[in-house]
């Protein structure tokens, strides 16, 4: 093992880092050396395991309601999360020349849509036509029934007249 690294590991700085007692500069150096030297990585792993072992021996089961409080907070965060507006950027208007005949990359095709576009004013006209249609239909049914009843009455009267004769 590199003597310098061995000295560094044995200085107690890694223990300070693991407990959060090291300075910001010391933390940066530890992380840098962790990347460069497997010995530092192994030593840190061992210390982190020690801390976890100590924590396990003193663990307390959280009360059942704790997670609900955390979840409610996260859910509220999700509910209130709004899309971040994109910074304004002016679109660059560039001149695109019209495609020339026989220009490669363009295919002529006919497009056909099943929908028609009408002016909004037609909405009221169509509504009026629909309502009037309903009124005419109702009136026609009414007069048809009236007519049928009148025919029946005439028929009855004729029968009565015949009977009187």
């Amino acid at each position: 093992m590199n003597t310098k690294i061995e000295k560094y590991i044995n200085s107690g700085i890694l223990e300070a880092y693991v407990t959060g007692a090291a300075t910001a500069d010391e933390e940066r150096l530890v992380l840098q050396l962790k990347q460069q030297h497997p010995e530092v990585r192994r030593a840190l792993y061992r210390l982190e395991t020690d801390m976890e072992l100590l924590a396990q021996s003193m663990a307390i089961l959280p009360p059942p309601g704790s997670w609900d409080k955390i979840e409610a907070e996260i859910d509220a965060l999700i509910a209130h999360e709004k899309p971040v507006p994109q910074p304004f950027s002016e679109r660059q208007q560039t001149y695109n020349p019209p495609p020339q005949d026989n220009a490669p990359g363009y295919i002529d095709m006919e497009s056909e849509s099943n929908h028609i576009r009408v002016h909004k004013a037609w909405k009221w006209v169509l509504a009026a036509v629909f309502i009037l249609g309903k009124i005419f239909l109702g009136t026609a049914i009414y007069f048809y029934l009236e007519n049928r009843q009148a025919q029946q009455q005439i028929k009855d009267l004729k029968t009565e007249i015949k009977a009187l004769k």
């Binding site: 300070a16 959060g20 020690d50 924590a55 003193m58 307390i60 959280p62 999360e81």
Partner: protein
């Protein structure tokens, strides 16, 4: 929309981390604040903060518990200032519940470990308070860790 998905995913990851480590962290916080209700409040606060730190916590090579403990330590910074320093000869600075690992340490190791781990002091602050060089404090802290590993 992608933020929404990320948040939704972070919720499930936070739950997984909670299931695994909440008990360990609550045990640590309790030994700092010495009150069940306050400890639970700090625990909830740590996990509410967690989605912001998930990237660094779950990255390969990172120790999840150690990262959680550092978040808790930062949150407890204000509380650390309100508690008295661990006092040599006064056993009240030790965790409220007996712990086999801490009992393996010498009094000096317990004092340094307690001041750093449960009282949130930095090496430099402790060195000033105890009138010792920082190197000496680090060395004693290292011995305290060796004591945790020492067979009973």
């Amino acid at each position: 929309m992608n933020q929404h998905i990320a948040l939704a995913n972070s919720s499930s990851t936070t739950r997984a981390v909670y299931d695994e480590y909440a008990g360990l962290l609550l045990g640590y916080i309790y030994e700092v604040v010495k009150d069940q209700h306050t400890a639970e409040q700090y625990l909830v606060s740590v996990f509410n903060e967690l989605p912001q730190h998930l990237h660094s916590i779950v990255q390969p090579g990172a120790n999840v518990y150690q990262r959680l403990q550092l978040i808790a330590r930062k949150m407890l910074a204000g509380f650390f200032e309100t508690i008295p320093a661990c006092n040599p000869g006064d056993k009240s600075h030790l965790p409220a519940r007996p712990n086999k690992f801490l009992h393996r340490m010498s009094e000096e190791e317990q004092l340094i470990f307690c001041n750093i781990h449960y009282n949130g002091k930095s090496i430099s602050t402790l060195a000033l308070e105890l009138n010792k060089p920082e190197e000496a404090i680090k060395k004693i802290l290292q011995q305290a860790f060796a004591a945790i590993r020492r067979p009973a």
